[in-house]
């Protein structure tokens, strides 16, 4: 059985990593390649780089950054943000990305998942889903949580899996950035229903939150940003604690 994965996420704007609390207040926390190397050294199992640049120039900067990341990092990494065509995916694969994550563009055009997966393999496609609880339903949002859709989370996750996504990266927009824990029931249900791995994102405020989502929540991996960026806890210490709690991790 594979180990549960710990994945730091780095938001990138103009080649620098930033992290926003609730996506609003952005603070500069460092050089993207150096931070990635540091996390890899600490024992991160994978890295996710999200391009949050809004301009064409920013996009181009990101592509050359991905090339530098690939040259310097010896663990797998995923890139996402603004990928809306197979050409975007091909460009990032070409500079060395191991996986790409797609979000809003897949909601708009679900066939994009099939197209990328059939050409480059399911292992290359991570379907990122931002969900929000409305009444007693979990609905999909796009554009960083700003637009609510009528798509229901579980139906969409199943559809993504059928279309060829290799992993689901789920963020609860109600929990993201507030560091009060992941919605474990939600993750447990999704992991139980799907056969592909589920990465839990958004909400880690403590070691216990991550223990919970990987045990009670059954998630295959936990992705977090602030908790690592601000040095609240190192990945090495976190993994030791996970191991003490009987969770299989790579130490």
């Amino acid at each position: 059985m594979v180990a549960k994965r710990i994945i730091p996420c780095l938001d990138v704007k103009e080649g620098r990593t930033v992290k926003g609390v609730n996506f609003v207040e952005l603070k500069d926390v460092g050089d993207a390649v150096e931070m990635g190397k540091m996390y890899a050294m600490q024992g991160a199992d994978e890295l996710v780089y999200l391009d949050i640049s809004a301009t064409v120039e920013g996009r181009n900067t990101f592509t050359s950054l991905v090339e530098r990341i690939a040259e310097n990092i010896n663990i797998p990494f995923t890139v996402g943000g603004g990928i809306s065509t197979i050409d975007d995916a091909a460009r990032l694969l070409g500079v060395g990305a191991d996986k790409i994550s797609i979000n809003s563009a897949a909601v708009r055009n679900p066939a994009l998942i099939d197209e990328i997966a059939s050409k480059y393999g399911s292992q290359f496609v991570v379907l990122a889903i931002d969900a929000k609880k409305v009444g007693d339903k979990w609905l999909i949002t796009t554009h960083g949580g700003r637009q609510l859709t009528e798509r229901e989370l579980f139906a969409w996750a199943h559809e993504g899996q059928e279309r060829g996504a290799g992993e689901i990266l789920l963020t609860s927009m109600d929990h993201d950035g507030v560091r009060s824990g992941y919605p474990c029931d939600l993750f447990a249900r999704l992991c139980n229903e799907l056969s592909i791995p589920v990465i839990a994102s958004g909400g880690a405020g403590s070691v216990k939150d991550i223990v919970d989502v990987l045990s009670k929540g059954c998630a295959d991996a936990a992705l977090a940003a602030s908790i690592f960026h601000y040095g609240d806890i190192t990945i090495g210490d976190l993994k030791k604690e996970l191991s003490r709690n009987g969770i299989k991790v790579r130490l």
Partner: protein, 196 residues
Amino acid sequence: MIAIIDYDTGNLRSVSNVLKRLGAEFCVTSDAAVIRAAEKVLLPGVGAAASAMQKLQERGLCQVLKELKQPVLGICVGMQIMCRSSEEGDVDCLGIFDTDVRRFTPCKEQGVKVPHMGWNSIENLRSSLFDGVENSAYVYFVHSYAPNLCDEAIATATNGCEFAAALAKDNFYGTQFHPEKSGDVGETILKNFIDL
């Protein structure tokens, strides 16, 4: 000089990047003469075994590969096509390693997912390829098919069933995992290959 065989099966970048980091001289080629003359040969590969075999055939490299006398390392699908056959596309392969490649059977109760993707530990290490690597070290896998256990296995791993995580026969080596993505452990293994 290490020849990385380019037969159009996806990303050669990560393999060339790690060789660059390790300071090894290499070239990316599908030229038989260059491959024959190289000190070492790397056969990477992602995608399906049947299409990888076909692409190797189209470039007239099947026989060339089998006759190589210098150390050869196949990675992932590169290793699978060095086996006898693969269930993926039901294809006859190069037959260098005396084993067949089968698909994993998913099993929710045992936590067996297909594809087998992520970090898993390797056991029963027995090769100079693993000098400096301890039993139960973690390496990175991404695959749905794997070679059956056999006498040529130099490492094993378990995903529901036990399978050969690495193979060796004479000058031929293969890893089912991706050493180029397996952190420091992976770099040690590649360094050992370079130093063979």
